[in-house]
Structure formats: structure tokens, C-alpha cells
Subunit: 346 residues, 2 copies
DNA sequence: GTTAGCGCTCAACGGGAGCGAGTGCTAACA
DNA sequence: TGTTAGCACTCGCTCCCGTTGAGCGCTAAC
């Protein structure tokens, strides 16, 4: 026995209803409310029995309706992937409005984006920014702050990326620092932050007259490089949305979930994994995150200049409104790709 | 009838017990568990009846124990104020450890501090950083980014504060921008960010040869000034801690609370008000924030160089462990004052 | 292949009994 | 006059049990 066209329609009806109500769906509901092929509840009952045997439905207990299984959701999402309904002009305008203010800082951008998606979907949203080491240098400036201390300002395509204090030679004048900054900018422009350290080592000899400054510059860059290694900005939006769902009406469950969001570490790995395709779906235990057993997560990756940059993830109950989420994600991934691409063109 | 020494001891015992258990406290408990003056439950009963008449206790219903009123908490906190127990060396070491990494960015600093306090107290913690307009300029740099675009980097005593793009004259060379930057730094150093705009206007004539750059610089500073007007960094730690308390076991209540935290606007006003004393206590509706009716909030303000800079607030159920919270707050307020003062001395 | 109907199952709801923590009051005691 | 023991009373909480109703599987008829 395999799944046919009619079984599929029934399954869709069940999933749709369950997503809305969070209550086991009975055969009568499918027959009366969704009118699948005009079949009676008895026929639906037979088909549902088959769907259960095939592993698409679960029955919490004998006299209850049925509930979609993870396998069913996966099938459902797969069928949606090609045909994710476009957002209505109204919806996309609303999203755009929440983003409209010109974003200068990467952090602001992804925070706004996370909030916007959270609001549009009603679920918790997490966004990982581009990896720090992958950002491309635009300009580097050593700004004197006091006698012996200077601030290292590194401007990348995602705006001011990092600043570290460094010690300077006491007799290094502002002019000297300026000259060094210019040379560095000239020679390092376009490299990723990760590539700067090694290149600096190579430049060392040609800048021997500024040996001490170079020495502490290399130190500072090394420090930045190490810190930046797998650092990404992570933004969370709508964390409290999870409390809207009866799945998380238990305070303890909700708390472990929210604590997980606050800690950020899990989010980093969640958003890092599985970047091959455009969308990734993980259900329940597949996430590997404690406190997310009753959650599903869809991630979409975004790019800049064709390269993978980061990912947006929407986390909700397993019975998520996948169709709507997919369209919002698609919109936002495109928006971020464009915005980041533009800013790197700037 | 007024409150005497013995009534006070009984009241303290009741508050202590209620803070731990969240259950109405009966006369027998006070007598047996807290052994106040070795009195029997009958005597305690009489005293409790008096305390209720005086408005320090409430009775949820006839056959239940009694619950402290807001008036009682206020008295309780007042009595603690002078004598907030010091943190044990272990506790303060633990706090310090969570802060140890050298903080370069204000945002990192207050985020870490908020988390540390949240962890130490078990309650939600919010911290407001110094007002942007009050920060003092250390250095200003116009960093060329492309042909006509430059980045305005403003370094204050709280590290890199804001950067805005500005348009530059197409024939302004990096050297010119550098020279302008140096002059600006010389002349503006030590001013607060709020004072820069007006001063720039005054300098305009003396820099007429760089008229176009000055023009867009003034524009950019104006923009920054307006944006910064009442902008403060706000950090939240341990938002999910509220879910630990039966007062917030209702998902809807918890959600409005968490949504309020995410929106940040209320927090800004909460932390702005009442800076006169060192500590401020607000109970329930006094906060004026929807969703905080069952909360209390203690705020402590911190200073730098003697001036008020910002505030730390701990939000928990009305039956908060005030003693412990006060000592943690005292520690952290001092830490922030010192750290900010040091960085402004840097 | 589809449908009507019947009997069965089982979670959820609601009312009533019993329990127990806690009070107020009174009377006795130091 | 303050303290204490004792007793009757109150009232929320929990447990138990009967009822309800949604939903299923199965069978027989169309």
C-alpha cells in the first residue's frame, strides 16, 4: 500500500487543521469542515487508518482523533517547497517598513530583521550574521586615544567590525599612525579579516622603521583573529512568542527553551549546520537541543555576491504554519542578500 | 496602636517565610519554625491580627495564613537598606569572574553585568548604560571608505560610540580628512557628544577652506545628536528567570512580561525615573508597566566621576529576596562606577 | 468502493465528601 | 495584664466517581 492522491489531500487537511487547533483531528472534521472529495466520515476513517499504518499519523489514545507525525510534516513541507505562496503585497510592504530605516550596523540590521520576521510569523526567529573572519576589509585606522594607547578601528563591508586597544610607541605621533594606517589600508583592502594576520607578518620587514607599532599591531590582530574565529552576530526576535502555544504552557519547558535562547551557544550551532540547500527543516529531537523536543525549526540561508553568509531560522511548535513561514523566510533571505551585497559594493 | 519591636520581629519572620515558600504563612509556622521570642501560636495570632489592622498583612481568605502587604515590604527593605549584608568573598569572586574578560565595548560590559546579576540573584536584570549625549569625546576620525563616502568614527570614554556615513567632497584627499580629523579632535576633545553639534557650528567659519566637508559633517553630527538624544544601551539578563516563580506560571502573564522586556521602551523609562537616592523600590502597579503588576523592582544607580551615569534594575516577584538583591546590586553598582571611571581616565 | 449505523473506549468535566491548615474566641493561668 | 491551651468554625484543596461526548473500528447494506 502506498500513498495516493486522495490520501495526500486528506493528510493535508489533517495537518492544516492540526496546525490551527493543536487538537487531534477526527474523521468527521475532515469530512465536514474540509469536504475532501465529498467523502463521508466513514471513508475518511478508513483512509486515516491506512495513513496511520503508513506512519503519517499518530493516535494519542484510542478514542481521540489523529495527529500528524514528523514524517507527515516533512512530506508536507517538501510539497510546499517548490510552491511557497508569495507574500501578498501588503505583507511584504509591512515587512519592508519595519526594515526601512537605513541600517549602518550589521547588528542593527539583523536585529531588526529578526524582529520583523518574528512579528510576521508569530514565531521565535534567530538570525546569524556573516562570520567575522569572512568580512572584507575596507579600511583600517589606528586612532590615538592617549599617550600610549590607540584604538584599532577596522571597517569592513558590514560596517565597523571590531575595535581593540593596542599599545603604541610613546613617540609615535598621530601623523605616523596616520601614515601607517594609510599603508595598511592600501595593502590590506579587500582581504577577509581572517587573512589579515598572515599578511601582516609578511609586511613586517618592509615596515621596519615602525617596528614597535607593527609588533603590537600584529599582537592586536592576532587577538582579534582568535576572538573572531567562529564569532557571528546572533540576533533573536520574538522569544516570548513560544508562550503562545499550548505545547509550551508548562513553565519549566518554556524556561529551558528561553534559557537556551539567551545562552546563544546552541543557536550558533543550529544556524551553522546544514547550509547546503536553501531551506533546512529539523523537527523535535533532530535539532539536538535540549528544550526543543517539541519544536521544529526551518532555516534559510542568505548570500552575498553568491557566497553563503549566514542563516535565518524560525522556531515554533512542530505544527508550524510552514507555508507562511517559508514565504516570509524567502522574502527576508532575499532582502538580506541584497542589502549585504549592496553594502559590500558601497 | 503602633508597631513595636516584637511585632517587627514577627513581621520579618512572616516576610522571610513567604519569600521562600510563596504560601500564606500561619501563626503556627511563625511560632514553631521561627521561634520568635519563644511565643506560642496563640500569641502570634493576636499579634498578626494587630499587624493586619495596621495594614502590614493581608489575608487571602478566612482560613488561610497571612501574606505581607506592599507596606510591609517597604518597611522590610527600609530596615535592610543601611545594613545590607555584604556578599561573601566566594560570591563576589564568582561575580567578578563572570566579568573578568577585559571589556572594550560598553555594550559588552553591561550585557555581561546584566547576566552576572541575573545569575547571582536568580531574577531578571536590566541595565541602562550612560546616556549617549553625556559621553565625552576622546577622538573623532573621518575614515574614507570610498570615493565620496566616509565613515564618521566617534570614540568616547565608553569606546566607539556611533558611526555614521557622510558624504565627502570628491576631491577631499585622505590627507585632508586626516588633518580635519586632527583639528576636530583637538578642539572637541572632552566635550560631551551633545555639545559637539553647537560647537561645530561655531567652528565653521574658521574652517572655511573645508566648507563642503564641514557642511556634511555638521549634517551628520546633527543626525547623530538627534538619534542619540535619549538613547541608552539597554541590556537584559535572565529574562526567563521570571518563569521560575508561581506568580508567573500563567503563560499569558509571562508572555506580556517578556514582550515588555523585548520592546525595551518601558525599561528605558523604568530605569530613567527616580535617580535621586542610591536605591529605589517600586512594587506592583507603582512601576506603571502593564504586565508587572505582580512584580517588584529595585534599582541602583551607578556613577562615574561622581556623576550619575545609569541604573541597574532587578525585577522579580514582590516577595523578592531583597537582602541578597541589595548586596548584589551594591557590588555591581560599585563595579560599574569604577570600571567606567577608569575607562574615562584611560 | 462508499456509506450508515452500532457498540465500544476513554479523556474531560463536574459535583460532593472528606481533609486539614488556619483563624477567632474564650477561659484559665502566671 | 500578658500568655497560653483548647475548641468550634471556615474554607480551599484533593480525591473519587458518575456522566458526557468525541471519535474509532467494524459490519452490513447500497
Amino acid at each position: 500500500m502506498s500513498i495516493d492522491e486522495r490520501k495526500l489531500r486528506i493528510l493535508h487537511a489533517i495537518i492544516d487543521d492540526y496546525i490551527m487547533t493543536a487538537m487531534p483531528v477526527g474523521s468527521r472534521t475532515v469530512s465536514k469542515k474540509y469536504k475532501v472529495d465529498g467523502l463521508s466520515s466513514a471513508t475518511i476513517r478508513n483512509e486515516m487508518s491506512d495513513l496511520e499504518a503508513l506512519g503519517y499519523l499518530d493516535q494519542p489514545h484510542t478514542s481521540a482523533g489523529r495527529v500528524p507525525s514528523a514524517k507527515a510534516y516533512r512530506l508536507y513541507v517538501e510539497s510546499l517547497l517548490g510552491a511557497a505562496p508569495k507574500l501578498t503585497p501588503g505583507e511584504s510592504a509591512k515587512l519592508r517598513a519595519r526594515l526601512s530605516a537605513r541600517e549602518r550596523q550589521l547588528r542593527d540590521l539583523i536585529e531588526r530583521a529578526a524582529r520583523a520576521v518574528a512579528e510576521a510569523t508569530g514565531y521565535t526567529t534567530v538570525i546569524a550574521g556573516p562570520a567575522a573572519t569572512e568580512q572584507r576589509l575596507k579600511s583600517i585606522q589606528i586612532v590615538p586615544v592617549s599617550e600610549r594607547v590607540a584604538l584599532l578601528v577596522i571597517v569592513t563591508d558590514a560596517a565597523v567590525f571590531k575595535d581593540a586597544t593596542m599599545n603604541t610607541d610613546e613617540d609615535a605621533t598621530a601623523e605616523q599612525l596616520f601614515i601607517i594606517s594609510r599603508m595598511l589600508t592600501d595593502q590590506l583592502q579587500g582581504l577577509t579579516v581572517g587573512e589579515i594576520g598572515p599578511r601582516l607578518e609578511m609586511m613586517r620587514s618592509s615596515l621596519s622603521e615602525h617596528a614597535r607599532v607593527m609588533r603590537s599591531l600584529i599582537d592586536a590582530m592576532g587577538r582579534i583573529g582568535r576572538e573572531a574565529a567562529d564569532t557571528r552576530e546572533i540576533a533573536v526576535g520574538g522569544g516570548s512568542n513560544i508562550l503562545r502555544f499550548p505545547e509550551y504552557s508548562d513553565a519549566n519547558k518554556a524556561r529551558t527553551f528561553l534559557t537556551m535562547l539567551e545562552a546563544r551557544e546552541y543557536l550558533r550551532t543550529l544556524l551553522a549546520a546544514g547550509q547546503d540547500g536553501m531551506f533546512t527543516l529539523r523537527i523535535g529531537a533532530e535539532t539536538g537541543v535540549p528544550g526543543m523536543e517539541d519544536c521544529a525549526m526551518i532555516t534559510a540561508s542568505y548570500t552575498a555576491a553568491g557566497e553563503h553568509q549566514g542563516a535565518i531560522g524560525v522556531i515554533g511548535p512542530v505544527r508550524m504554519r510552514y507555508g507562511h513561514v517559508l514565504s516570509v523566510l524567502e522574502f527576508m533571505a532575499r532582502y538580506l542578500s541584497e542589502t549585504l551585497f549592496m553594502s559590500s559594493e558601497l
